[in-house]
């Protein structure tokens, strides 16, 4: 281990070290803590310029209630779910199918196809903007959930395929030989050998993809127009423009947007980190 571990019996030293970490952490999260504190403040406080003093009254949930009742954020929140959940399901399905083939079959052009998927992950979104927007307009799906689901599914499938391919390639070869010896069809191999073994990878991928799609803003503003379709990120940006002085409300809305990915992360931390660092560490 590096740095050298602090000895178990040096409790004073350990306590000091942990205190230092706590101070750095507080500074690190200061911007977030500040906005959280504001989300519990009343409008009266802000009007009187009492931004950081002791609040006249702690508005525990008032601002959060107002975000859902006075602004369209509830709608946007629902929209985000309607966009994100099916996209994640499609990405997982497509990338499992492709990852399986790319890791287990040799065929001409396999490396090229794989390289295209990897490269596609890294292109700037702006190079896709005009044609994709135009395509959605022509297909008559611009400003619908379908447009965003379609784009996110296609884009995330690139990264997800790379991910699944590496994971499936790491499964022991003997399993596949045994299945083949028994005359299992490719579909049977996938369904009965691969899928049960890749559950952890699917979990990691699901939460990564969820976070990426939930957090998207660019496509939200390029492919949508109406409040009936807009996801939370675009909703939050709008809200900030409209409620310029009601920072307590904007603060609460900001926290609302942040909650799903943060909760997902805390529930599935191990998978999330494993997913992010996959391929970066070994090799």
């Amino acid at each position: 281990m590096f740095p050298r571990p602090l000895p178990d019996d040096a409790s004073a030293q350990r306590f000091l070290y942990m205190s230092l970490v706590a101070v750095v952490l507080a500074l690190w999260l200061l911007p977030l803590l500040a906005i959280m504190a504001t989300s519990f403040r009343t409008m009266d406080d802000l009007m009187r310029g009492n931004y950081w003093g002791w609040p006249e009254r702690i508005a525990w949930l008032d601002n959060y209630r107002d975000v859902f009742t006075q602004t369209p954020m509830a709608r946007f929140f629902l929209n985000s779910l309607v966009i994100t959940l099916p996209s994640v399901a499609f990405v997982l399905t497509l990338s499992t199918l492709m990852g399986f083939v790319l890791s287990r079959y040799r065929f001409p052009g396999a490396t090229l196809l794989f390289a295209v998927f990897v490269a596609g992950n890294f292109v700037p979104h702006q190079i896709l903007m005009i044609p994709v927007r135009d395509m959605m307009l022509r297909a008559g799906v611009y400003d619908t959930f379908f447009a965003l689901i379609l784009f996110h599914t296609a884009f995330q499938t690139g990264f997800a395929t790379l991910f699944m391919r590496n994971f499936i390639a790491a499964l022991p070869q003997e399993l596949f030989e045994a299945a083949r010896a028994e005359g299992a069809s490719p579909f049977q191999v996938l369904a009965h050998v691969v899928v049960p073994l890749i559950r952890p990878a699917l979990a990691a991928l699901a939460i990564l993809t969820f976070t990426f799609i939930w957090n998207d803003y660019f496509w939200a503003i390029v492919l949508t127009q109406s409040d009936a379709v807009k996801p939370v990120t675009a909703g939050l940006a709008n809200l900030r423009g409209q409620y310029v002085s009601a920072w307590n409300l904007v603060a609460a809305a900001t926290i609302v947007v942040a909650v799903p990915p943060v909760v997902m992360f805390f529930l599935m931390q191990k998978h999330f980190v494993a997913g992010l660092t996959m391929g970066a560490v070994k090799g």
Binding site: P31, Q126, M129, Y217
Partner: protein
């Protein structure tokens, strides 16, 4: 299919019929199934990611408002870019982003080193350090707009504590880009930290103790024994940071809209602005193409290295 096969199939969880006709599907399924598996994903990816890249490059050679027939211009859009001060500013800002973002890998490594201790409470501390990483860039943008506010932001508070007036970072032409980059570095450093924590976790104990036996400690041990083992992680951290820097759009859109007077714009934002607000799709496509070509250099660098590692592993 004989009885033994059927038993083993069941053991595998299979429920296929025990009698099958040897039709064209059955005799070809061993290659047809994988092809069918590849088709939907590949088609979607080609249609929505690959083909549009070519289309954008093509559109960049035209004058187009998005409605009428495009008019062929050849390289005129690119020529115009060279004389456009907005473009120069955006390009310069992209370079600033790129250079400042290079703080993220070493800063992430520093935090990872601090957190790589097995003390009670450290696991929670690590998770809390990760948080900026999972926040939407829009969220980070709003959080920092609040943080930077010159009259009541936390930063202004710090300045007031020293009897000074807080700077209006986001409306100062010279400071605005730096302010946005610092905000964007927050999640980026967290990302690098996660990568390096994983890297530190995978250090070879043998090599480390050999180094310690040889009397290497602290900085020397870090430089000569630890760092070489983190090369692969470091490479990925740098690539992801470069891509992140060049891709920046959300934070600028939320914090400054490229302002004041276009001083904080980058290519990604300028492109969006020209296309959506000025209906200059051809010109916008040309800006996107320049950005794409710059990024293609890094993408090619990454791909080359990745494919080489693949070949070595095979």
């Amino acid at each position: 299919m004989n009885a033994l096969d059927a038993v083993e199939k069941r053991a595998l969880g299979g429920s296929g019929p025990t009698t099958e006709a040897a039709g064209p599907w059955r005799s070809n399924r061993s290659w047809l199934t994988p092809v069918l598996f590849l088709v939907p994903g590949t088609f979607l990816f080609l249609l929505i990611i690959v083909v549009p890249i070519g289309q954008s490059l093509w559109i960049s050679l035209h004058d187009w408002d998005g409605f009428e027939q495009p008019v062929w211009l050849g390289l005129d859009n690119y020529r115009e870019l060279l004389g456009d001060p907005q473009f120069t500013t955006a390009l310069r800002n992209n370079v600033i982003w790129l250079v400042l973002f290079m703080v993220a890998p070493p800063a992430g490594l520093a935090i990872a080193l601090m957190l790589n201790q097995a003390i009670r409470g450290m696991r929670i501390a690590k998770s809390l350090f990760f948080i900026p990483l999972v926040l939407a860039p829009v969220t980070v943008g709003v959080v920092f707009t609040w943080f930077y506010d010159p009259t009541f932001g936390v930063l202004a508070l710090v300045f007031q504590a020293f009897g000074a007036t807080g700077p209006a970072l986001l409306s100062d032409e010279r400071l605005v880009t730096f302010a946005v980059v610092i905000a964007a570095l927050w999640p980026q450093i967290a990302f690098c930290m996660v990568l390096f924590l994983a890297g530190l976790n995978n250090l070879s104990e043998d090599v480390l103790s050999a180094g310690r036996v040889d009397g290497a400690r602290g900085w020397r041990l870090f430089w000569h024994v630890v760092l070489p083992q983190l090369r692969q992680v470091g490479f990925i951290a740098v690539v992801i940071t470069v891509i992140g820097a060049l891709r920046s759009f959300d934070m600028i859109a939320v914090m400054t809209q490229g302002g004041p007077f276009g001083s904080s714009s980058v290519l990604a934002y300028l492109m969006y602005e020209q296309a959506i607000f000025s209906y200059r799709f051809g010109y916008g496509a040309a800006i996107a193409s320049v950005l794409f070509l710059i990024m293609a250099v890094f993408i090619a660098w990454y791909l080359r290295r990745m494919l080489r590692l693949e070949r070595e592993a095979a």
